[in-house]
């Protein structure tokens, strides 16, 4: 009964926000703005928020650490490196091929971090995010260096503040692939939950540990690569949203994944709407707004004692 109410409430909130997002803006409302700009922008925010939140949850499961997200495991930076290489060395490539390069290099970057994290003692939970920050920082430095060499620093700047104002139809649609990747992950929800219990429990139950890990890594890389190509960087979402849900209802992914997706979509879309209203007619990037909200929520969670379920 309670569960039912929660579903209806979440759906209503999201639907309300979508409507709001479609009607708010500088341009006059007509069919053309709505179809070419408002709907793409709105759906992009929902899809990116939902899939990034899921990617964050999955990378936390794979690393078995709650303080990581794709931006601190090298996944995001590696994806950027991929896109940048394409932009410099093969500028004519279609967006799909660009995306594939981003996904592939994100895959390599994530696997690199996982093999690094495997050798770290797991009795010190803060060591993993620290090493992750350094690892991501090193790849990020490579990105900056390459951008500098290629005279693309400005391009990089736009990218760093994930925002949705440039989203138009014809470009955002590949974000649906990120949504599909998230659904595929949902099909493996139980297996991923078991992997979250550790390698020993996974083997014990007869599951193939590395196979499930690969499903997870592929989802993270897919989502990260696609979001980086279409929107840029939206930090914090993959960190904050899964932690909120985990605090409230635990890490059983069958239940957690849909909630993480909804909350991610709702929060990012709200951030985008707030960013459009606050200094109307100017805009503040959704990534910036979310950074502020996200940091506050995260601090609150860190300081608050865990609930008793």
């Amino acid at each position: 009964m309670k569960l039912h109410h929660e579903k209806i409430a979440a759906t209503l909130i999201l639907a309300g926000l979508i409507l709001l997002s479609i009607v708010i803006g500088v341009a006059d409302i007509n069919t053309e703005t709505i179809v070419l700009s408002r709907i793409p922008r709105t759906m992009a925010a929902v899809l990116a928020g939902a899939s990034l939140a899921i990617a964050g949850l999955i990378i936390q499961i794979l690393v078995r650490n709650k303080f990581v997200e794709p931006g601190t495991t090298g996944s995001t930076e590696a994806a950027m490196l991929g896109v940048l290489c394409v932009t410099i060395f093969a500028p004519g490539l279609s967006i799909i091929l660009k995306m594939l390069c981003a996904v592939f290099s994100s895959l390599v970057g994530t696997i690199g971090f996982l093999s690094l994290a495997k050798n770290l003692p797991n009795d010190q939970p803060l060591l993993i995010p620290l090493v992750g920050l350094i690892y991501a920082g090193v790849i990020g430095a490579g990105v900056t260096f390459l951008a500098y060499q290629g005279d693309l620093l400005q391009y990089l700047g736009v990218w760093m503040s994930g925002e949705f104002s440039g989203i138009l139809s014809g470009r955002y649609e590949i974000l649906w692939l990120a949504g599909i990747a998230a659904i595929v992950a949902y099909l493996s929800a139980d297996q991923l939950t078991v992997v979250g219990l550790g390698e020993a429990a996974t083997i014990n139950l007869g599951l193939n540990y590395s196979q499930v890990m690969m499903v997870g890594v592929a989802t993270v890389a897919m989502v990260t690569g696609i979001v980086v190509v279409t929107i840029g960087i939206l930090p914090f979402i993959g960190l904050v949203v899964p932690n909120v849900v985990s605090r409230l209802m635990g890490d059983n992914l069958k239940q957690a994944l849909p909630r993480v997706a909804f909350l991610g979509g709702i929060l990012v879309l709200s951030s985008d709407i707030i960013g459009r209203i606050i200094r109307f007619p100017y805009e503040i990037p959704a990534g910036t707004i979310f950074g502020v909200i996200g940091a506050a929520v995260f601090l609150y969670l860190l300081l608050k004692r865990p609930s008793n379920g």
Binding site: N65, D190, G196, L197, G198, N204, G206, G250, D251, P306
Partner: protein, 251 residues
């Protein structure tokens, strides 16, 4: 029966186990004893295929670890590790339900649910079933993992120092339950125990391990003597009689 045939294991250049050959009889409790670092966990983890077996062969009721798939083995053997540190927040009832995975692959039917309930009752977890794993003490968490292994309904249960975090009451209760499982349900239990008196009191069969080699193996009352324990642990031991079995005094 578990047959361990000429198993050796190295980590780097160190010999952890050397030419271990032993037979562990079915239906009963087998205790593995030995000093810290003897290789007890390593041996148990090899049997439970947690560690890849490179040298030698292990057969579980005739199925070789080399030729049996991991999901088939999950129906034969379940292991509870020495330290079940858990980062994941899932509820106790969910954890135990995952024990049914090898049978149900996530779709629990009424029978599966009955087993899960029975496991929670058997291991005194009913009051804790809605708690998250990270809200339990070490001992409670260990019991939850043992209940999960029980729900897996395998013939063989491997337990690595299950008494470690338990108070006297729960240690006794657990041994009682395990004995019942062995006697009434024909389960076979292999456990690493560091307290030789628990081994003496509760096990039917005993294996002594030191520096990766088997020092003795056989029926507990035959092999677990003051002399063998003195040699194994390098301490002075005297035997005190007791109506429930021998007590080895080494304090």
């Amino acid at each position: 029966m578990i047959t361990i045939n000429n198993v050796s294991h190295k980590i780097g250049a160190n010999d952890i186990l050397t030419n271990v050959t032993a037979e562990i009889p079915a239906n009963g409790i087998t205790a593995i004893v030995g000093p810290n670092g003897a290789g007890k966990s390593t041996l148990l983890n090899l049997i439970g295929r947690q560690t890849t077996l490179n040298d030698g062969d292990i057969q579980i009721d005739g199925s070789s670890l080399h030729s049996t798939s991991t999901d088939k083995l999950a129906l034969k053997i379940a292991l509870v590790a020495q330290d079940v540190g858990v980062a994941s927040r899932i509820k106790i009832k969910e954890l135990i339900a995952f024990g049914r995975w090898p049978h149900s692959k996530g779709r629990l039917n009424d029978f599966d649910k009955e087993i899960v309930e029975a496991a929670m009752e058997r291991f005194d977890l009913v009051d804790l079933k809605d708690r998250f794993l990270d809200q339990l003490s070490g001992g409670q968490r260990q019991r939850a993992f043992i209940a999960m292994a029980f729900a897996q309904e395998t013939d063989w249960l491997l337990l690595d120092e299950p008494l470690n975090n338990l108070d006297m009451f729960h240690a006794r209760a657990l041994m009682n339950e395990l004995k019942l499982l062995a006697v009434e349900n024909q389960k076979s239990i292999v456990m690493v125990i560091h307290d030789v008196n628990y081994a003496a009191r509760w096990s039917d069969y005993c294996i002594g391990l030191d520096f990766g080699k088997i020092k003795f193996a056989g029926a507990t009352q035959d092999v677990l003597t003051a002399k063998s324990v003195e040699q194994l642990f390098q301490v002075n031991v005297s035997v005190l009689g007791s109506p429930n079995g021998i007590i080895l005094d080494h304090y």
